[in-house]
Subunit: 320 residues, 2 copies
DNA sequence: TTGTACGCGTTATCAG
DNA sequence: CTGATAACGCGTACAA
């Protein structure tokens, strides 16, 4: 590998002069600067990032960590993070679960953004420090070096259900997502609180546990059909499960929205084609906001409250 | 930052003893080993990857580079790469355009996999070497340290068109993707060659340039309608454009497949919901194959021919 | 079984 | 304007 020593030898100068040129310092004559630059180009030389950062004690690098490959909107989030970070002079490194752990532990990057259920709170808490802050997109942790940027699920779900109530729906079904996620808890709370406040009972036989994947929505409807009666409207904790549910209903020739109405959450790109009423989340903004926060944290700012991303209902014809 | 020196001091041993323990060498007594391990845990110590790899002269890290955030199947490819690499003891680092360049140039990783039109052939050629091989997923480059894993577009497109011909279609339209991509060239060649071999003329007024995005499919149909007559079947170089085309046709009350048939390519998850005939690509396998190749290259194997991923037609009711 | 000393590629300090 | 040298955190001969 061609290193700075090699360039120095080829240029007939010392290592430090090469370093000075490369780092744009003014204390080198124009002629030697040109010569060195030319030789660097000829040799296709680029400074070794490990040597550089070992010395500097840090990198200008942020790790983004995720692990669910079925949620296509992750790409939109990544785009938001990537743009914001590049604008601010940081490099973005995206990692899936295992590699992310390795990288986060090894003091390589300046901070991390995580959206990954598989990571434990414990892990984040022991790792975070002033020199390595963390921004979480899927949970809240109370810690000076950890901040959050999350979707504000509760009010929008509450509003969705309120409109459904106003339209006269009385028998509600619900398909939930991963049990212990913040998303799922908030969405269900919004749903339940709204019903309660409207004095509408929610029958537990109409509640189903899902896992955010299509198949679990499908299965929920199968169970529902075994039990006999249908609710008037089926609220789903995300689009994929709603799509699975729609699939099962179609197979049984149950018409949407004539026989049953259905709603999703996320506004995945399939939702539009399927005509599914859902909640749309500004993913790009979500990502860029997380990036902004991690930079503030790195710069030593104190961040108190989590940032809540506002979501909006998209009414389509899956609701009567 | 707590470093190996700190651990050594706390344990009352030398640096090398700590290093020996951490790297699982047998020349340390069980008791000191235990003591050191305990202290590492207490101090939450993890070796600095930069120091480690600077010494080793390499990392066990592969960079995957992409830049188009609208193609949701990228996540499937990433999953394939990630699984395969983790199984083989490598860490995966995913980067978007700019950060990827920085990382690839800086001698950090052991190899790279790229699927990014924005990268130039030139860049790959000057960078690749025995100690830094590259696998390309979107093009072919003839170079000892570069190999390719690409979708075999030609035969499947040929087959698709042949079946359409057999069904009696005579007037074909085509919406192409990014002009200079391998994908696009191969798909169009397969299309054109099949028509030619069947003595079916292709009228240039039915050819449209697109960019793989939905909007360009929409626009193509708008132009088509201005020109007056419709082809019997519209073959699109990918699903997104086909979906845009369908959108425009719907707005004009042109029925699919009664008035016009339409096909896509990619089998994006919307295609199924939309009932679009398309070509399905094993993305996961595609990714894991690319990962296998980069590892072989790193291990010094000579790879001649590019690996071609086989795709398959999915007939749905967008075709009469 | 443990410790000393050196080198990996880079930057920064300071002397010339 | 230029160069010698120490330091960053780690691994590894080699010596003890």
């Amino acid at each position: 590998m061609v290193d700075i020593k090699e360039i120095a030898k080829l240029s007939g100068v010392s290592i430090s002069t090469v370093s000075n040129v490369l780092n744009g310092r003014k204390n080198v004559s124009a002629t030697t600067r040109e010569r060195i630059l030319k030789i660097c180009k000829e040799q296709n030389y680029h400074p070794n990032i490990m040597g550089k950062n070992l010395k500097a004690g840090k990198t200008n690098t942020i790790v983004f960590n995720f692990s669910d490959f079925d949620r296509s909107f992750y790409l939109k989030i990544i785009e938001g993070i990537s743009d914001q970070l590049n604008d601010s002079g940081y490099d973005l490194i995206i990692c899936t679960h295992k590699s992310a752990e390795n990288l986060m532990k090894s003091n390589f990057s300046s901070g991390a953004i995580s959206l990954d259920v598989k990571m434990s709170d414990e892990f984040f808490i022991t790792l975070s420090k002033r020199k390595f802050p963390i921004v979480l997109m899927d949970r809240l942790i109370d810690n000076p070096f950890i901040s959050s940027v999350v979707v504000d699920n509760y009010p929008v779900m509450y509003e969705l259900v309120q409109v459904l109530v106003n339209r006269g729906f009385k028998k509600f079904g619900y398909i939930g997502g991963w049990k212990n996620t913040l998303d799922n808890k908030e969405r269900f709370s919004g749903f339940l609180d709204c019903l309660t406040n409207n004095n509408i009972p929610f029958e537990s036989k109409y509640y189903f546990d899902g896992n955010y994947h299509e198949e679990s929505g499908y299965q929920a409807v199968i169970q529902l059909l075994v039990s006999g009666t249908l609710p008037e409207v089926l609220v789903c904790a995300n689009d994929d499960m709603a799509l699975g549910a729609i699939q099962a209903l179609k197979e049984k020739n149950i018409k949407i929205p004539e026989d049953i109405s259905i709603t999703g959450f996320d506004d995945s790109n399939i939702a539009e084609v399927a005509g599914l009423t859902t909640v749309t989340i500004p993913y790009y903004e979500n990502g860029s906001m997380a990036a902004k926060r991690i930079i503030e944290l790195i710069e030593g700012k104190q961040l108190e409250a989590p940032y809540k991303i506002r979501a909006k209902i998209k009414w389509r014809n899956s609701v009567r």
